[in-house]
């Protein structure tokens, strides 16, 4: 049944006058006041507690207030005092109690008794477990193998991550491998190359009139989820008479697209070309902010360096190569549309171009992001309302540096196992995707132990199978997960973390206006089972190991470490909590659950950039210098020119172009003839990475745009489906070079004819009663391809074929 939207929306205005006169006789039919049943309502509860804390179900880290009755949490709400979520929670946050009270939680430390993955465990006590770990770690250390210990961390508590890093340093291993690069490497690196900030930046969306989103799922995932959702309203209804326009550039019609004013389907991986074509129009029609470009950018016009060498300017490059008509075929977007978008973008300030994993999710991600970010420079959207702001941090007490003995120093100097920062991956800080190959090759060395904190590579990385294989080669694997995820199921020892509602942490949530926020996480209830917060475990493990490692953890407990950090915030006497004594500060911090400080004012005299030129760099000197330095460090500078180096890094452009935003074709896995479709995976509001798959409340509302619940699906354009002979609701195989999975076909007008889409989050092989064996995991299809330059994985660079199962 196709129903016109008019039926719902076209009735506007009729409301006021619509009252029908004859309500009195109608009242006779309806308004019988009932003989009230005495038992109609339950008595209201007396004496409940409200405990403030911080959500941990995704990276947005909203501040929450828990309603506690008789020691049980009965409801979670947003904390009204928080500047980012302003008292609101997303559906995941609302379902938090189904995470806390998940019947399939791990309840105590366990040691594997059967072969790995056999599911046979014995319960061990915490002291036993800690002794085992410290003994094994001690032994490795004694054998000079400290550096072969790897710690994989994911989107957990940043504070605990800090402690883990400290432990690793004191212990003597360089191998703390974070997974944030999976989604963020291209973003943060491009920010660094162009504006000198190696981090996320804030977009002051509340004041924007025009938002161009290159594959940022700003309504489903992206960054400060709940805040962005509020900002949608701000942009539309917050300013009388002013309604921002939002354009979603995305191969699929996502929920974000539905909330945008315009959806522009784009061929996956071609965002850079589109951004440059937009720049072409803006420059050709002289719509750019000439003052800003002149005063605050570098490399716009053709220029000469100190040596007098002529260099290609951004303007020349763009005008030469990126006319809309030339980009039309590449992106699938009509030239007229490109021109229109460019004009709108440039003439409706403040405007920003934002991007997410989508626009950067191929091997060309770094250059795509650079191209997208240039648009912001063209309209001067930096350090001004509606523009790009720098994030700021609370003034935590800095820790004393860890105490290092000779072993620690020696170990720390070993090359990283994932190769991040090496000649092959010059700019990467972490490259967890590279681990399996290194492990399977045994180079540069074979890891002897691997720890997992908030990380589930056996599910969440491309070609997840590879990680399983690699894991088999590691003698000791330890997981801190409170859930039996795929990785945990393959480990030797499980040290279940306390759940977020049972533990202490400090968090620094992002905020759109660059506000510094400290979110306190405190136990809302005592741990339900014999579990311990990983922070506490790290402190105790360090103490157990003793020596310089123990010395590096000078705190009696995890809480003490945490309070020491917060003391800096107390001492700074800034922001929302300013008290004469620490006790008062701490009491209030616990009561309010949050501290925050107003965003820094825009720098006087216009924006400042921490780049070599102090300006926004179209031509990235940091990129150029970085490459040269990497070459020099490896002693290859002489023999290997930058050109050849670029080639080895998979960059096709040569000369100046390589340091300018330009379009690089991304790598595609699979021949078009055999695999005619491209696979796009996406996150949903209801999922969180590999998590939330065992939460019934989420499963029951999983994909609202396709009305799917409790199952995963593959979105196929109806026309394509007809060609493939696939009907709606049928099981189909989706096959790539590296595997095939079965999913339910969903015929969807929001899918591009040559692209199929699958949600990420289903297809667990392990897990709880609801997650295990439900749906399919697209990561079994993605070959492990990543960009050596950016370090990010190729998420939408996989070709597939689809056929009936």
């Amino acid at each position: 049944m196709r129903v016109s939207r008019r039926r719902f929306l076209g009735l506007a205005g009729a409301a006021a006058g619509a009252a029908v006169g004859a309500t009195f006789p109608q009242a006779l039919l309806g308004d019988m006041p009932p003989a009230q049943a005495a038992e109609e309502f339950l008595p209201l509860v007396k004496g409940e507690r409200q405990v403030s804390s911080t959500c941990a179900l995704c990276d947005a880290r909203c501040s929450i207030v828990a309603r506690v009755v008789d020691g049980r949490v009965v409801k979670l709400e947003g904390n009204i005092l928080a500047p980012h979520n302003l008292g609101r929670l997303c559906p995941k946050g609302q379902a938090g109690l189904q995470v806390l009270y998940d019947p399939d939680r791990l309840r105590w430390p366990m040691r594997r008794v059967g072969p790995r993955g056999s599911g046979k465990w014995e319960r061990v006590s915490w002291p036993q477990a800690l002794t085992q770990v410290s003994e094994q770690l001690g032994e490795l250390r004694a054998r000079g193998l400290a550096h072969t210990v790897v710690f994989q961390v994911g989107n957990g508590s940043h504070f605990v991550e800090g402690l883990i890093g400290r432990f690793m340093t004191a212990y003597g291993s360089p191998n703390l491998v974070h997974q944030h690069h999976l989604g963020a490497a291209a973003t943060t690196l491009a920010n660094y190359f162009s504006q000198g900030v190696r981090d996320f930046v804030s977009y002051d969306l509340a004041h924007d009139n025009y938002v161009l989103s290159f594959g940022a799922s700003f309504m489903e995932a992206w960054r400060h989820t709940v805040e962005t959702q509020r900002l949608l309203g701000e942009m539309r209804r917050g300013r009388p008479g002013l309604r921002a326009k939002i354009v979603q550039i995305d191969p699929r019609y996502s929920v974000s697209a539905s909330k945008a004013d315009e959806w522009i389907p784009i061929h996956p991986g071609s965002d850079g070309a589109l951004a440059l074509a937009l720049a072409h129009v803006i420059i050709a029609e002289e719509l750019y902010d000439q003052d800003f470009v002149r005063a605050h950018t570098f490399g716009f016009e053709d220029w000469r360096d100190k040596g007098g060498l002529a260099h290609l300017g951004f303007k020349t490059l763009v005008l030469r190569d990126y006319a809309p008509a030339r980009v039309e075929r590449l992106t699938g977007i009509p030239a007229a549309t490109i021109t229109k978008l460019a004009r709108e973008f440039a003439t409706n300030p403040p405007a920003v171009a934002i991007s997410g994993r989508g626009g950067e999710s191929q091997t060309n991600g770094l250059y795509n992001r650079l191209a997208i970010h240039c648009l912001n420079a063209l309209v001067g959207s930096f350090d001004q309302p509606g523009g790009i702001l720098t994030e700021s941090m609370p003034p935590f007490t800095p820790w004393q540096p860890p105490v290092l003995d000779a072993t620690a120093r020696a170990g720390g100097e070993q090359p990283r196992l994932d190769g991040a920062g090496s000649l092959q991956l010059p700019f990467a800080t972490d490259t967890s995707q590279a681990l399996p190959e290194a492990i399977l090759r045994g180079e540069p060395y074979s890891p002897q132990a691997m720890f997992f904190y908030y990380s589930n590579p056996l599910f969440s990385r491309p070609q997840a199978q590879l990680h399983r294989e690699a894991l088999e080669k590691i003698p000791l694997t330890v997981s801190f997960s409170p859930f039996m995820d795929e990785t945990t199921a393959q480990s030797d020892l499980v040290l279940p973390d306390a759940l977020y509602l049972e533990r202490w942490d400090v968090e620094t949530p992002p905020c759109s206006d660059g506000c510094a926020i400290l979110g306190l996480r405190q136990p809302v209830v005592a741990p339900l089972y014999d579990v311990a917060s990983t922070g506490e475990v790290m402190v105790r493990l360090a103490h157990e190991m003793g020596g310089t490692i123990g010395e590096s953890f000078p705190w009696g407990s995890y809480l003490e470490a945490l309070q020491e950090s917060c003391a800096g915030v107390f001492l700074a006497k800034r922001g929302t909590l300013q008290f004469p004594t620490w006790e008062e500060f701490w009491r209030e911090l616990k009561a309010q659950g949050i501290w925050w400080d107003a965003p820094p004012l825009p720098p006087a005299g216009g924006p400042k950039f921490a780049t070599p030129s102090g300006k926004f760099e179209f031509y990235s000197q940091a990129l150029e210098m970085g490459l040269r330095e990497a070459l020099a460090r490896s002693g290859a500078a002489g023999s290997q020119g930058v050109e050849r180096y670029l080639e080895s890094l998979g960059v096709q452009a040569r000369g100046d172009e390589a340091f300018l935003p330009h379009y690089e074709p991304g790598l595609r896995a699979g021949e078009e003839r055999e695999y005619p479709l491209t696979l796009v995976t996406f996150k949903t509001m209801t999922g969180s990475g590999s998590r939330m798959a065992n939460v019934p409340f989420m499963l029951e509302i999983y994909g609202p745009h396709v009305r799917k619940k409790w199952q995963s699906w593959v979105e196929i354009n109806p026309e394509t489906a007809r060609r493939l002979g696939v009907r709606d609701g049928e099981q189909v195989w989706v096959e790539s070079l590296v595997g095939r999975i079965k999913a339910v076909a969903k015929l969807y007008e929001g899918a591009m004819p040559e692209v199929v889409n699958m949600p990420y989050g289903f297809g667990h092989r392990e897990g709880g009663r609801w997650s295990r064996g439900r749906g399919a995991n697209p990561n079994e299809l993605l070959p492990n391809i990543y960009s050596p330059l950016g370090g990010n994985s190729s998420w939408s660079g996989t070709r597939v074929k689809v056929y009936r199962a």
Partner: protein
């Protein structure tokens, strides 16, 4: 045609009361176990909750409500038809009124139970009386149906009295049946005074029962029509349902008559001409049904309201089309030709038509109840409804139950109103003789006129 002496004829009627054939036992056994199975299904449903059915959101009602409407419909077989015929002094009614009235009573026993099957909380049934709200169509139903049921029992019972007395006189005293009949006969001796009073009472009842019967099916339709739902919210529903009810009622009656005639050898009492006449009545009803259906659907179609149309199209060419068109074929097209052509309007023909009509009318009830619910006004997912074994078992059990009650009844009481026949023969021998014996030479129209004028 073979004519039996009066005595012999009477004993044909009383024979089943006296001794039972093996066929009776087989029938009781089969029907009884179907009912028992349905009972088990219901118990299962009670322990599981209504989740055991195929009902869901938005298809909140399914074949229980369909059955409810259907059985209430066929209950019009009896009381209403016999009352109309009585009031109209149609002499040929005499042999058939009893079996008609019995159908009413049993259908009224079976039909409303469906409401209990359908209730989420049958244990709270009494709330209807404790908290009853008279603005609710459901309460109107409760009222109308209880009244109709009481009336129908009375209406079945009154004309039974003389026959019970007759039966009493034939049963050996001391037998339990003697006791039962004595009690039920209320000391009937067949005196003039008694006869006069009985006639009076029956006369009054037959006048009263007509509006009650009409009201019953009207309010049944109002349970649907009082909502604002597409293709339910229709002013035509009252008469439409009443016509449908009479229609399926007559059809059921014809089936029952045919079965009785065969099983109990009542060829002398239920004559081809009865079938012929009722067949003609059925023909009229077919046309009337078509008329109502046509008006109902044409107005919907012509009105072109999107909500209504989406239900309409679900029946016209959507997932209910096969049911809808089957219904049109079996309730109208085939019966029309069978009934309109004198050569096919034989007993067999009429019975075939009747069976088809009943199937069709059940489908009609189903395609009224379910499609509307599958098309919520807001664009939720389209509803899908598949009855489960529980619902199907219970439904079959209901049909079996109705048949079982009927079979048992025929074993207890004469299924043909003997005294009325006798009376009729005496009082109107001339006229009745002519009407019964003559094949109607005057053609359809005159026959129709006669049916109406008696």
């Amino acid at each position: 045609m073979r004519r039996l002496p009066q005595e012999e004829a009477d004993s044909v009627l009383f024979r089943p009361l006296m001794r039972s054939s093996w066929r009776f036992y087989v029938a009781v056994l089969i029907l009884g176990s179907m009912v028992a199975w349905a009972g088990f299904a219901w118990l299962y449903q009670l322990t599981q909750g209504l989740g055991a059915t195929g009902l869901n959101r938005p298809v909140y009602w399914g074949i229980y409500i369909t059955n409810f409407i259907f059985f209430i419909g066929i209950s019009h077989a009896g009381t209403l038809i016999s009352a109309i015929l009585r009031v109209a002094h149609a002499g040929w009614r005499r042999p058939i009124t009893r079996s008609a009235e019995a159908i009413t009573v049993f259908a009224l026993m079976v039909g409303p139970i469906n409401i209990i099957f359908d209730l989420g909380r049958p244990d709270r049934l009494l709330n209807v009386f404790i908290f009853g709200r008279y603005q609710s169509p459901l309460l109107w139903d409760v009222l109308a149906i209880t009244t109709y049921f009481t009336g129908s029992i009375l209406y079945l019972y009154l004309p039974l009295i003389p026959d019970i007395a007759m039966a009493r006189d034939r049963v050996r005293p001391g037998h339990w049946k003697h006791l039962l009949f004595t009690l039920l006969a209320l000391g009937w001796r067949g005196t003039e005074l008694q006869k006069k009073r009985l006639h009076r009472a029956i006369g009054i009842m037959s006048v009263i029962i007509i509006p009650i019967a009409v009201s019953v099916h009207t309010v049944v339709s109002w349970v649907l029509a009082m909502t604002v739902q597409p293709m339910w919210h229709s002013a035509i529903f009252g008469p439409y349902f009443v016509v449908g009810a009479i229609f399926s009622g007559i059809a059921t009656l014809l089936i029952a008559m045919a079965v009785l005639r065969k099983m109990l050898h009542l060829e002398d009492y239920l004559k081809p001409d009865h079938f012929n006449k009722l067949g003609l009545l059925l023909l009229v009803m077919t046309l009337l049904w078509l008329y109502f259906t046509f008006s109902e659907y044409l107005t919907t179609f012509y009105g072109n309201a999107p909500d209504e149309l989406s239900v309409f199209y679900s029946k016209w060419h959507g997932e209910f089309a096969w049911l809808f068109w089957t219904m049109v074929v079996v309730t109208f097209i085939i019966p029309f030709f069978i009934l309109a052509i004198p050569r096919t309007r034989t007993i067999t023909g009429v019975v075939i038509a009747s069976i088809l009509i009943n199937i069709g009318m059940w489908i009609e009830r189903y395609t009224i109840v379910v499609p509307t619910l599958t098309r919520p006004r807001l664009p939720y997912d389209i509803g899908v409804y598949l009855p489960t074994w529980v619902e199907l078992s219970i439904t079959l059990g209901e049909f079996a139950g109705l048949a079982l009650l009927y079979v048992l009844f025929t074993r207890l009481f004469p299924i043909v109103s003997l005294w009325e026949i006798k009376e009729g023969e005496e009082e109107e021998r001339e006229k009745a003789q002519r009407v019964l014996a003559e094949p109607k030479p005057e053609g359809k129209l005159a026959a129709l006129r006669r049916i109406v004028s008696g």
